[in-house]
């Protein structure tokens, strides 16, 4: 029990310190790294509670993929400059937010600590956490029997999210990202159209560039 207490205190301190870092650091890169600390702390707490598979998923998906996505966007957009802390859109909103957060915490603590019985449900009869079987087996069995519809809908949700992300972040070929690097007439799509115009002018056919071909070229340029 003493070891468990030690693990809980250390990883809990890491969690809280990381959470405070996410909120209080001014630089978004520091925020992202603090988030990694919190995610690792939560992963350790998962291990302490026997959710080994979830701990691995937590580290791989959250710390490995999501935070890296955050860092990519931060560095891609160059938004790693500091927030302007002095500017308050609504006067006193920070103090109000802190009061709301503390009262939220207070209400949760009152609800948790007021009675010795936090859990009011009945222990599971169908999917017990039997320590004999690995938790991967238990999660898999539950996921593909009881929760199969939720699983399928999750797959649809991921597909929609990916398509939506691609649609949102796709750059329209008319608007260059960097006008210094790509002044007028040097975009790949415009070059392709110009090349086609010259080749068409060379040939006998004077129909002009096929609009469909130009569109395809523009699409190819935009996806790069």
């Amino acid at each position: 029990m003493r070891v468990e207490m030690f693990v809980f205190v250390v990883s809990g301190a890491i969690c809280v310190a990381g959470a405070l870092g996410v909120v209080l650091f001014r630089n978004p890169v520091h925020n992202a790294l603090s988030l990694v600390a919190t995610l690792f702390g939560v992963a350790v707490l998962f291990v302490a509670q026997g959710a080994y598979f979830l701990a691995a998923i937590q580290v791989i998906v959250y710390a490995g993929a999501i935070v890296v996505l955050f860092l990519f966007v931060i560095m891609l957009l160059g938004v790693d400059q500091d927030d302007d802390v002095r500017f308050e859109p609504i006067p006193g909103i920070r103090i109000a937010a802190v009061i709301v957060g503390i009262s939220l915490l207070g209400m949760s603590l009152i609800a948790l600590l007021s009675s010795p019985d936090v859990v009011t449900g009945a222990p599971s009869a169908l999917a017990p956490l039997d320590p004999a079987t690995p938790d991967v087996n238990r999660i898999g069995a539950a996921l593909f029997t009881d929760y199969i519809y939720a699983f399928e809908i999750t797959a649809v949700l991921l597909t929609i999210a990916v398509v939506g992300a691609v649609m949102l972040s796709r750059q329209s070929p008319e608007v260059p990202l960097d006008t210094e690097e790509f002044p007028d007439g040097t975009m790949a799509s415009e070059l392709a159209i110009r090349r086609e115009e010259t080749s068409v002018a060379d040939s006998v056919d004077t129909d002009g560039p096929e609009p469909a071909d130009a569109e395809i070229a523009a699409d190819a340029a935009g996806s790069e």
């Binding site: 939560v42 938004v79 222990p123 999917a127 992300a165």
Partner: protein, 103 residues
């Protein structure tokens, strides 16, 4: 004196992380950092799910963490794509600049 480590401690820690995340969501104006605060809150909820699953001796809590994780990943993908699309059109996209959902 050794204090007994009960499951309630995990719930208290999760409540603390959730409150910090909720406060940060209101305080910060950078959309990226606001997303990180949402991730904090989701992680607190995940911790709560695992703790309750442990208390009730049910694997359902761990399965639910799975779904929360998937939804978080989808939310981050779409949200970061939105941030990229907005930042491309105008500089300095804080939450105040984006109070209207149109151009």
């Amino acid at each position: 004196m050794i204090v007994e480590l009960t499951q309630t401690w995990y719930l208290v820690l999760a409540a603390l992380i959730f409150a910090i995340g909720a406060t940060g969501l209101v305080i910060r104006r950078n959309p990226l950092v606001m997303f990180m605060c949402v991730e904090l809150m989701l992680n607190a909820v995940n911790l709560t799910f695992v703790s309750f699953g442990n208390m009730l001796d049910d694997v359902g809590g761990q399965v639910f963490v799975f779904f929360v994780l998937v939804v978080a990943a989808a939310e981050v993908a779409v949200g970061l794509a939105l941030v990229v699309a907005i930042t491309r059109r105008r500089q300095g996209a804080t939450a105040d600049d984006l109070s209207l959902m149109r151009g």
